[in-house]
Amino acid sequence: MPVIFHIPGGLREYTGGQKQLVIERTPSTLADALHALWAIYPGLRDRILTEQGQVREHINIFIGDENVRYTGGLMTPIPSAAEISIVPAISGGTGVSDVTGFH
């Protein structure tokens, strides 16, 4: 089943303005899903991860309603038909409206 990424406003310049992106295959982990994402939208990678491959400090990634910081990070398994949300921390001051504007 495909997975759907929800893209916050601050990153849409790297997705041609798209709010939702669909990956037409089933990745096994979040790392796999993100790898598939950068294959299509390469500008997203360095916005979301540091050069050491860690999710940036003020960015949270949710699979469904779960923050992956508490479910295994990038190795979190991806369930079927998952929706993955990339969410800037509220304190970051960017994309707050997008947090509530998902879906």
Binding site: G16, G17, R47, E51, G93
Partner: protein, 705 residues
Amino acid sequence: MIGQVLGHCRVVAKIGEGGMGVVYRAYDEVLHRDVALKVVNKDARLDASSSQNLLHEARASSSLAHPNICTIYEVGETDGELYIVMELVEGKSLRTLRGDLGLVSESVVRYGVQIAAALGRAHDRGIVHRDLKTANIVVTNDGLVKVLDFGLAKHVGSEIFEGPTQSFATPQNTSSVSGTLTYMAPEILRGEPADYRSDLWSLGVVLYEAASGRLPFEGRTAFEISSAIMLEPLKPLGSPVPLGLWAIVQRCLTKEPAQRYQRASEVQAALEAIQSALIVSRDFPAERGGPKTTILHSLRHAQVRKGDSLLLVGTTKGAFILRCNAQRRNWEVGGPYFHGHAVYAMAYDDRAGQHRIWASTQSIWGTLLRSSDDFGKSWTNPQDATIRFPADTGVSLKNIWQIALGSDEKPNVLYCGVEPAALFETRDAGETWALVRGLFDHPHRPRWMPGNGGLALHTIVLDPGNKHRMYVAISSGGVYRTEDGGATWTSQNRGIRAEFMPNKYPEFGQCVHKIAMHPARPERLFLQNHWGLYRSDDHADNWIDIANALPSDFGFPIVVHPRKPDYAYVIPVDSDQFRCSCDGRLRVYRTRNAGASWEPLTCGLPQKGAYETVLRDSLTTDSFEPAGIYFGTRSGQLFASRDEGKTWQKIIEGLPSIVCLRTAFVSGASPGSKPTLPPAPPASSRTNSGVTRKSRRTKTRTRKS
């Protein structure tokens, strides 16, 4: 005509001719720039009243400042000849570009957005174009649209301003009246006056033509064309054109003005809405890797000219570019660029004939180094961050605090000082960057401690007399020097007190806030410490305390005079506990004897209730005579002195917190030209990172595609 002078423009070459006049390439001998000069033939059908109206209209249009509008600089009359001096735009007309088959939809939309933006600006100022058509829309080699001849058609007719007058590659035959008629709105044909909505009809014709390569309403005679415009339904554009674009064209070409879009901004918004969808359909993998460029259409840009003075202002929420002529009185503001991103470092690079502005941007999405070759109208936007720590370091880039230029002999070399404390070098003008391992692997590094602003390498100073010597300052690590181009580094902190350490004079670990070198005496450096002001006269081997009788020796910035080695400027704050100006009095202090004594500079600065902070990179000088001194505050105020600090004026207030301030002079000298602008032209072109250069090369503007 060649060689003649009209106004202050010397005619250089003929570049086009229309039915009522001729267009020349000319050179403005006062402002030292290439211009286009349009001269109306003496025998043109202009009576005195029409001439005056044309002059009036052209003067009104000259007030339009917009990146998508060809600027009119001057209009005049001499020996019965009317002439118009305008921006020289080099590119191809949209008429030429669209060919016989039309452009791809993505290009139509991209150009359409810019044309609509230009119309929007003109309409806001009460100016109707009246003769918008593909022949007077030029696309530069950089993809920037320029709309020409706002408001001029009303009095002169269209022919004079046809293709050859604006573009160097549009020799199409448009001499018949149909050249204008085919773009006319129905209400004009009915004898009603043109208004903004008539321009939006013409925009619809332009979009239709650009997308299909043909006009929407055609005929063999003026009567047939007029009839088609007023009566015939619009012929469909066909399947290659997205429905969204077709809908926009249809609404522009509604015969009843009240049913059209009512404002150019509505058309712009509609085009922008479909623009992103079109971009998505492109082949993204083919675009991987290299830097992308973001062209900013909706911002106000400073219209920079040769001979201008610039202020590059980095704030916690974006960057601004201010320009002024050599008088340095009235500043035009461009920006904000990089909305919401902190810009801690900026630099102006005019080596090898370029006019490049560098800026670092920091946000929760990471830190990027970006550049603009057109004074902010477009910026590189690299998909992959170019400055990145190698995997074996285990650390990640947090911020770029300083951008420093290499020597004039190596125009592709730049340095960046970053957080966590490290130095990066590029030798290919920023395409690739390498960590300077000699410093990063220094045995002291694990014992450096972060200051309040993080563990940052915030200052880079190159020795103009020794290409192998360089200094860096780290908070909190102290001053380090290399004598071998970066391979090895030594700590240079002898005499600098570390108030917060058990050992007050450690070998390293001082919290240095800023160092500055005088280029004419590179052995001399000044240093503002976290408590303490120092000077070294021996390449930083030894430092002596020079805080003599200052109200506080705590502060952040320190700069040197561009020419006088004994002059330095500081802005003390009360203490590290209360980092605001002492006693609520905003004062710059100047020494004229290398720190033996300091004098407060207060004229024009608030002396009551002004609890301000000026950060380490927010004080700078220019290189004019007399020197200009500038500083920006955390409260977003920007002050300037045109007389070396004697008197001050507030340039602007209400900016976000200012964290970086740089000056630059846009080189304007042409071969054989005489400097004419008062005051005397500067002795150097930029003051970045305390390094002032004396090169005065003739510049040829280049643009990065």
